[in-house]
């Protein structure tokens, strides 16, 4: 019964069914460009716009934070004041007025924050339901625990009790600060220090919530952990932090999803994600990013300026980033791996789609420090309309990294002739035993490919989605099944109307 042939047949069928439902879905979706663009009507508790030490203190006080954290924030804030917004990336936008942004907005609740799902505002539950993320544990996707972050705060976390039986901590960042301050103090900022860059410093000063996961020694987390980020309030920035620690021999797969209402103004999302992998542990981090991309002419949309980094601290540890970036007006992010432990492994699998006026500058950094460390980079950029897509990657092999290996492959696909693809691979090798390989291709989606599929009875819409999905296959197969299907749908929708 468990023969691989049988299993594969079953998978093939599942996959096939999912794919065909994806095509049906496409028909429904194409009539409504961005289906997550609605606004939830909840009363919110917000700080006045603008940034100052007082606002930093206000946020910290709202969360009853311990002294060390307030000090940490203030230090980050003072650093930020001295820093300049980076301008080296290949994206263009009008200057952001940091004094017009609201740095804290939370749906109003009578108590200090919901303690159980029953106490969550039904309006919020309905919002997540509508986004396809039921928070009710009976209805929830089996095998996925969700932390739901709404504007600046976490509103619910599912399956918390079940996980805690195994010693897995999965909760909102605020709760972790309250209940596990030692872990927070030990790991916060150890991968992305508050001085790392302009947006990381800003985040460190004003972050309001996010998710925290700790997987204890030797535990294989029994379900996918996931955070679903939703920006709702207008003129609000979302600054969340995620911290994931896999202790020795632990394993966790973590998923992140995001959407926002359609608004004419740009909104800033400046998150920080830190991953720590100790000896023999593994963290798999997957993102399907679908923030509102702005309209066809580039009005509105999210500025997604995110710092994500993982530290393979222990020997034989492994961190894999998989990302599918279809949303946002501007995406600027480089999920990276610092490979300190000997034999540690870093992976980066990315699909970035830019259509209409979207811009993406994304890639990774693989820093090889330990011996026999290895890294793999697979990047697929798809540009349509006037979209601009840049891959920027750094592979750095330090002196002590005997026997380090890297393989990079960057493929770009162009749809139409008004879009652009750019590749900026940087390489620094300080150890002569290193083996580094880089491959890059650029292709145009072929009319002859589309015609070939048409000639077999397949519509142009389905043909494009098939060709593009084929192009992205090496990345999609790294995603958990539910996410892979979601990603395929998104790709179809994002590229709607871009050929023919």
């Amino acid at each position: 019964m468990t023969g691989t042939g049988r299993e594969r047949q079953h998978l093939t069928e599942l996959w096939g069914n999912l794919m065909s439902s994806a095509t049906d879905e496409l028909e429904i979706l194409t009539t409504q460009d961005y289906k997550y663009g609605f606004v939830t009507d909840v009363e919110s508790d917000s700080a006045p716009p603008g940034l100052s030490e007082d606002i930093v203190r206000f946020i910290s006080a709202k969360k009853n934070e311990p002294e060390f954290l307030l000090e940490w924030r203030l230090k980050a804030y003072r650093n930020w004041l001295e820093m300049k917004e980076p301008a080296w990336h290949n994206v263009h936008y009008s200057p952001i007025d940091y004094q017009s942004i609201v740095y804290y907005s939370a749906p109003k609740s009578k108590k200090d924050g919901p303690k159980s799902l029953e106490e969550v505002d039904p309006e919020l539950l309905a919002t997540y339901e509508k986004l396809g993320i039921p928070l009710n544990e009976q209805a929830a996707l089996a095998g996925v625990a969700v932390d739901a972050v709404f504007d600046s705060v976490s509103v619910a976390t599912t399956f918390k009790d079940k996980l805690s039986e195994m010693g897995v901590i999965f909760c909102s960042f605020s709760e972790a600060v309250e209940n596990h301050p030692n872990l927070i103090q030990k790991y916060l900022g150890t991968v992305v220090p508050p001085t790392d860059n302009f947006f990381a410093a800003l985040n460190s000063a004003v972050f309001s919530d996010g998710s925290f996961c700790y997987i204890p020694k030797g535990v294989r987390c029994p379900m996918e952990l996931s955070t679903y980020f939703r920006i709702n309030a207008a003129n609000t920035g979302q600054f969340e932090r995620t911290l994931i620690v896999a202790d020795e021999g632990a394993y966790v797969s973590y998923l992140e999803g995001c959407t926002a209402p359609m608004r004419d103004e740009n909104q800033l999302h400046a998150a920080v994600v830190e991953l720590v992998a100790l000896d023999n542990s593994q963290i798999k981090y997957s993102t399907v990013q679908n923030w509102y991309p702005g309209d066809k002419d580039g009005k509105g949309g999210i500025y997604n300026f995110v710092t994500k980094r993982g530290k393979c601290q222990g020997v034989n540890s492994k961190i894999s980033w998989t990302q599918v970036e279809t949303g946002s007006a501007i995406t600027w992010k480089y999920p990276s791996c610092v490979l300190i432990g000997d034999n540690s492994v870093g992976e980066f699998y990315s699909v970035a789609v830019t259509n209409n006026r979207q811009q993406a500058d994304t890639g990774t950094k693989m820093i090889h420090i330990g011996k026999n460390t290895s890294s793999t980079i697979i990047s697929k950029g798809i540009s349509a309309g006037y979209g601009q897509n840049a891959y920027r990657g750094l592979v750095k092999i330090q002196k002590g990294a005997e026997g380090a290996r890297n393989f990079s492959q960057c493929d770009s696909m162009l749809m139409g002739d008004k879009c652009g693809a750019h590749t900026f691979p940087y390489l620094e090798v300080k150890n002569p035993t290193a083996q580094v390989e880089h491959e890059a291709t650029t292709s145009k989606i072929g009319e002859d490919q589309i015609f070939y599929l048409n000639q077999r009875g397949i519509t142009t819409e389905d043909a494009i989605s098939m060709i593009v999905n084929g192009f992205c296959k090496e990345v999609f197969r790294e995603l958990p099944m539910e996410f892979a299907v979601e990603a395929q749908k998104l790709l179809g929708v994002s590229l709607e109307g871009s050929v023919g």
């Binding site: 096939g16 015609f451 070939y452 077999r456 084929g470 296959k473 090496e474």
Partner: protein, 251 residues
Amino acid sequence: MLEVRNLSVRADGKDILNGINLSIHRGEVHAIMGPNGSGKSTLAQVLAGREGYEITDGEVAYEGENLFDLDPEERAQAGIFLAFQYPVEIPGVSNLYFLRAALNAIRKTKGQDPMDAIDFLELAKKKMANLEMDSTMIERSVNAGFSGGEKKRNEIFQMSILEPKLAILDETDSGLDIDALKLVSHGVNKLRDPDRAMVVVTHYQRLLNYIVPDFVHVLAGGHIVKSGDKNLALELEEKGYGWIEEAEPTK
């Protein structure tokens, strides 16, 4: 089934087809021969609905309908199949997934339920065995890295799954070794059916020993310059095209 009347086609300002007349009925096999560049592939592509060709004159009726009213996928769904002279590679899309999507698109227009993956796999394995294709081909990306002969065999495999009403085979024999030629011909012959018509474009009389045509047409300079039965192919083999190229177009 297919009535081509006075069809004239231009591409990039160049007249390629100049008044083609062709009448094809159910159950018939027509061979089209002719020198390189005479317009055989153009005719096949125009019938399948390829963009980039300007129809300057004439009309084509397929089962009583104006063929040019149909999009390429509608023609395929209505039973027209083209085995490409140069099959296209589609990296990352498995033959299995692609062909099942194609079959189910066609089944849908016939009002049939989609075939599930397990039944489909069974069907595909059977058809592949007939063509002595390696069964791992089904999991590979469409035509990607296939040898020339494997691509041609894959076209006939697709035809055997999709069971078209009108099959147009553009030089399916080119690039096949002798054994493969027999196998592929055998595969094609299995699909010969009183309800199905075939148009076989070829340069070699040898193919027509295996797939015996009811009619042979010679295309030259964008005209059909001569039509006949299978003996015409033998004659061509012997004399080449020179003796008829100057001849008047047939009506």
